[in-house]
Symmetry: C2
Subunit: 226 residues, 2 copies
């Protein structure tokens, strides 16, 4: 039994699944899953299956972004195809990572955990402002000033172990740790099978290809891009 | 019709009510109310009544802190009486203001609003780490790095107009603007009437006394401390 405790944010995607397995090496992990009205309803089911596979207790937090403001939330707004558009993607959800991280910090303080793990990575999706190193650095300084743990000199740490890895490096690392990729979901759409055309499907396919590995979810679901 | 838009966080207490009326002078305001399982169920009803009185549309966001970690959330944990304990109060809710502010920023970005108003003040409750100037300064820098509006050079502004006012100054300012204090709720407990013994009831009573004003809620509810 590990004595150090951590909270791991789990979206059901590859990055957070690998992050969970990295965190598990050193920490007794509590998993935090968000059901926030996302278009991809399979994410939540995949996240639960991943937490179960990793034998970590989980909490599903139901919340909402009633003001929408993202193609991931507004069903009348199309998910852009891979390569479509520039700048910050239409799939950016205003302040989502800030909110999710902060729930993680809240959970960590209440549970006596010393760290929150988040599976952000800044290379493939470098246009998301809330996935960049500079954001995390400033977030940490904010936590040091604005929380009980910070005021007491032991601020909850924000751990981003895959931040500087490419998708294929993340996949290879997860493969080595036995991450059950068949329980991960990447597609932004809400279908039963991955759409194969959104940015996230494209990055997943590219990542597995570059890692020289088969995507087990592609086989399970029959989707082309997995 | 004002052209500048703002989001105002409204708890149903005096500070946020006065903040709403201050914001209304310059902005077309959208109100954001949180129903987060707080012990004081009257807060949400008061906040709605305040928004209606101010003729501002509101959104009630239902969320939760299932890990508790605060006397305001855990009904088995007593609310301390005024003057009881030192350091950070048992009524501190881990990361609550950070989460609420961030929902405000999300709402503001989605609605094209330029500012979020929060009624924090650092004097009476100086032991809450998330009500101090240093916290807000760092929060602003984090927003500049981690949001779409920040990346585009026009980060949502965090406005704290009552931060450096005392409770009696806040009450006097609100009185001058016609804030309907009969619709505000301060007590931490979940009763029909204010308990009169918690820190928040004590500060309210002291604030009205120092401002030389009657608390209209004390008359309406029949509570001793209002």
């Amino acid at each position: 039994m590990k004595t150090k405790k951590a909270v791991v944010l789990l979206s059901g995607g590859i990055d957070s699944a690998v992050t969970l397995y990295l965190a598990k090496k050193e920490y007794d992990c509590r998993v935090l899953i968000f059901d926030y009205g996302q278009r991809a309803r399979k994410e939540v089911e995949c996240a639960k299956a991943l937490a179960d596979a990793a034998e970590c207790p989980y909490e599903v937090l139901k919340t909402a972004f009633p003001w929408k403001g993202s193609a991931l939330l507004d069903l009348s707004s199309p998910v852009p195809a891979s390569g479509e558009g520039e700048g910050i993607p239409a799939t950016y959800v205003p302040a989502r990572n800030i909110i999710f991280l902060s729930y993680g910090v809240s959970f960590a303080e209440a549970a006596g955990a010393e760290a929150v793990f988040i599976g952000a990575h800044q290379h493939d999706f470098s246009n998301y402002p809330d996935c960049r190193d500079e954001f995390f650095e400033r977030y940490r300084r904010m936590i040091e000033a604005g929380t009980r743990s910070g005021a007491e000199g032991s601020a909850v740490r924000i751990e981003t172990p895959v931040l500087d890895m490419t998708k294929s490096e993340i996949i290879a690392a997860g493969y080595g740790m036995g991450v059950p990729f068949e329980f991960t979901w990447s597609c932004y759409e809400g279908g039963e099978h991955p759409c194969g055309r959104c940015e996230s499907c494209a990055f997943r396919a590219k990542g597995f290809k570059e890692a020289g590995l088969e995507d087990p979810a592609a086989e399970t679901t029959g989707g082309k891009a997995g």
